[in-house]
């Protein structure tokens, strides 16, 4: 039986955040939602790292903060998380700026559509035929000519009155 202390709950929460972020990254189609999921996953990972330094009934690791001789939580993971937060912010800022440029160029942020357009552009730049995709299973080969449609009323001969 798992002992449901506050610590266990927060551990489960941190791993849950990482899982939510991972699921969102994999399942979402919209690029901005994928970025948000990434942010959630990063928060979860940072929380998990801080938790590794947790000691019960300890104060913040600042000299002179708590009563003299009190135990402090481990400061090393907190330093690591500061760095990780900054790295995460930098990467997200770069991603958002690229996202804006992609939207201006392609007009959409749906990942499936973007991948299809990127594939078409790469093939066009290389001068090869685009590979088949879900939208065009036969590739970009020309379809056979379809005979012109004439509605039924035009096909019936007018009665001789």
């Amino acid at each position: 039986m798992i002992h449901f202390t506050l610590e266990t709950v927060v551990y489960a929460g941190a791993i849950g955040l990482v899982a939510i972020g991972a699921l969102g990254l994999v399942l979402c189609n919209h690029l901005f939602r994928m970025l948000l999921a990434l942010g959630i996953a990063e928060s979860g990972a940072n929380l998990l790292l801080i938790l590794t330094g947790f000691r019960p009934d300890a104060t913040a690791p600042i000299i002179g903060y708590g009563p003299a001789g009190a135990s402090m939580v481990d400061p090393l993971p907190q330093v690591l998380v500061l760095t990780a937060i900054v790295i995460g912010v930098g990467v997200q800022a770069m991603a958002v700026s690229m996202l804006v440029r992609v939207y201006r160029a392609y007009g959409t942020l749906e990942m499936s559509e973007l991948r299809r357009r990127m594939e078409l552009d790469i093939s066009a730049a290389a001068g090869i035929r685009a590979p088949s995709s879900a939208q065009s299973p036969a590739g970009e080969r020309p379809l056979p000519p379809v005979p012109a449609y004439r509605p039924a009323s035009a096909r019936v001969q007018p009665r001789e009155s």
């Binding site: 791993i15 990482v18 972020g21 991972a22 990254l25 690029l31 994928m34 970025l35 990434l38 996953a41 990063e42 979860g44 990972a45 940072n46 998990l48 790292l49 938790l51 590794t52 090393l76 993971p77 690591l80 760095t83 990780a84 790295i87 995460g88 930098g90 990467v91 770069m94 991603a95 690229m98 996202l99 440029r101 992609v102 160029a105 392609y106 973007l114 991948r115 357009r117 990127m118 552009d121 790469i122 093939s123 730049a125 290389a126 001068g127 090869i128 035929r129």
Partner: protein, 490 residues
């Protein structure tokens, strides 16, 4: 010996000085990058030539490990620290460049210098979180470089790379937290001391798997390599050469250090072996189906790195030697091929008759293709035979399956590489443009290096055996970082 820090610090400093300098003097800004790289190469070469047999460490800021961060320099670290500035000079994106926008040039050069600083730091660092930070620095620099052309397809490819890479680094942070929970330290030497007691269970294996996913994104590990063909097809060719050739090897080096020092359990090697086999099979079969030159060699790069992982999963010094040999061979050959791909970036049909316009480039391609396939006496043959012999000596089912895969994949490689080679020497009315002078020069230099290694196989093999023996010696690592005082020695 503190000078070993300069190849990390000088490019960082130069990268941040690049923008202000570009406002003052365009010529100085264009010259600063290559100048700093030449200086780094000279410093590292001097240390390498004066290197005895014992590795040495440098405690950053005077803080002794395990509280402080330590840089560890042995043969392997110095070898890679030397190749970083040399290869970046060879494939400097500003060479022969007619780009007249000084701001763009300054930004590009700053990004390359950041990549160089991060790569050198990855080779030398002895602290796990320091490695993580250098890895992230290399990742951000490579995002900027991959999207350098600014075309929408490059941006989408870079965004996919960014998402996969950032997700990998989240997972590696989780792995680092597990490691810290189990051992209470992040210094590689102290982890090596504590690993036999604390990391043998499922927590250790989970931590290794998570960090493998994190550092495997750059190392093109299956299944995290879906970003590779698109990024290498849309990035400028020299940037692709640097990323595929140089940065991937340094990511592999990080994984190897973790494997040798911290995670010595057989499950870790088996995980690496299975992912390597999957990478080899998927990469080479995809290369066989590719229809344009850049993506063909990108997929081939995935396959070759799969062979590198298979090699490093073999126990003992034979595995390390085989892995280092394949990695160095791939570094030389793949960078040169990407250099040639700068002008030959169309479809494979468009390459018909290229030998007429540029016989040297076509000859170099055939040389590199033969070495990749593994035709004796070229170095590729020796590297592959080391892998195959190591796998055969291992003898477990998975290793024999890996042996069969590598042989199968060699046949596939021969098929698609010879297809291109035959096309190069075909007849055509409109052959493609010959590669630019700088790219051809770099490829010729690397081809000459390949032939040089072929002629001097025995001394090179002895030196690499030395490198592998020193790199695999975890006890030596721990003793160098934490030297036993006279009183402790019995």
């Amino acid at each position: 010996m503190n000078q070993i820090l300069l190849p990390v610090v000088l490019p960082l400093l130069a990268a941040f000085l690049m923008q202000p300098l570009a406002q003052v003097s365009r010529l100085a800004a264009r010259a600063l990058g290559p100048l700093v790289l030449v200086l780094s190469a000279l410093i590292t070469a001097r240390i390498w030539l004066g290197f005895g047999e014992a590795p040495f460490t440098v405690a950053i800021g005077g803080f002794a490990p395990p509280l402080g961060i330590v840089f560890y320099a042995d043969h392997l670290a110095l070898l890679f620290a030397l190749t970083v500035p040399l290869f970046t000079l060879l494939f400097w994106p500003g060479l022969g460049d007619q780009d007249s926008d000084p701001g763009h040039c300054a930004r590009r050069d700053a990004l390359v210098l950041l990549l160089v600083a991060a790569a050198t730091g990855l080779a030398l660092s002895g602290d796990l979180f320091n490695i993580y930070i250098f890895y992230e620095l290399a990742a951000v620099a490579s995002f900027g470089l991959a999207s350098l052309t600014g075309t929408p397809r490059a941006l989408v490819a870079t965004l996919r790379y960014l998402l996969i890479s950032a997700f990998g680094s989240v997972l590696s942070l989780v792995g680092i937290s597990f490691l810290y929970m189990a051992t209470g330290t992040l210094n590689l030497a102290q982890l090596a001391q504590l690993a036999p007691q604390t990391l043998q269970g499922p927590l250790g294996l989970a931590s290794f798997a998570l960090m493998l996913i994190g550092f495997g994104v750059k190392a093109e590990l299956f299944p995290l390599n879906t970003w590779v063909p698109d990024v290498y097809a849309t990035a400028p060719a020299r940037v692709a050469a640097l990323l595929a050739g140089l940065v991937s090897k340094l990511a592999v080096l990080v994984v190897v250090r973790l494997l040798v020092l911290v995670f010595q359990q057989p499950e870790a090697s088996q995980l690496l072996l299975s992912l390597g086999v999957l990478g080899v099979l998927t990469g080479e079969l995809a290369a066989w189906r590719a229809r344009d030159f850049a993506r063909m060699i990108a997929f081939s790069s995935i396959g070759q790195l799969g062979i590198v992982f298979i090699a490093f999963s073999i126990d003992g010094d034979t595995g390390l030697l085989a892995g280092i040999a394949v990695a160095l061979h791939h570094l030389i050959v793949k960078s040169a091929l990407f250099g040639l791909a700068a002008r030959w970036n169309g479809s494979l049909e468009a390459l018909t008759g290229a030998a007429r316009r540029s016989p040297l480039a076509a000859g170099l391609f055939v040389l590199f293709a033969l070495s990749l396939i593994g035709v004796p006496p070229l170095p590729g043959f020796w590297a592959k035979i080391l892998v195959l012999v190591g796998l055969a000596q291992g003898g477990s089912t998975l290793q024999l399956f890996a042996l069969v895969s590598v042989l199968l994949v060699t046949a596939v490689e021969a098929s698609y590489l010879f297809r291109v080679a035959v096309r190069l020497y075909g007849q055509s009315d409109s052959p493609p443009a010959p590669p630019a002078r700088w790219d051809l020069g770099a490829a010729t230099l690397l081809g000459a290096a390949l032939i040089g290694v072929t002629l001097a196989t025995a001394p090179v093999a002895d030196h690499l055996r030395n490198v592998a023996r020193q790199a695999g010696n975890a006890a030596l690592y721990v003793d160098t970082v934490f030297p036993k005082t006279v009183a402790q020695k019995d």
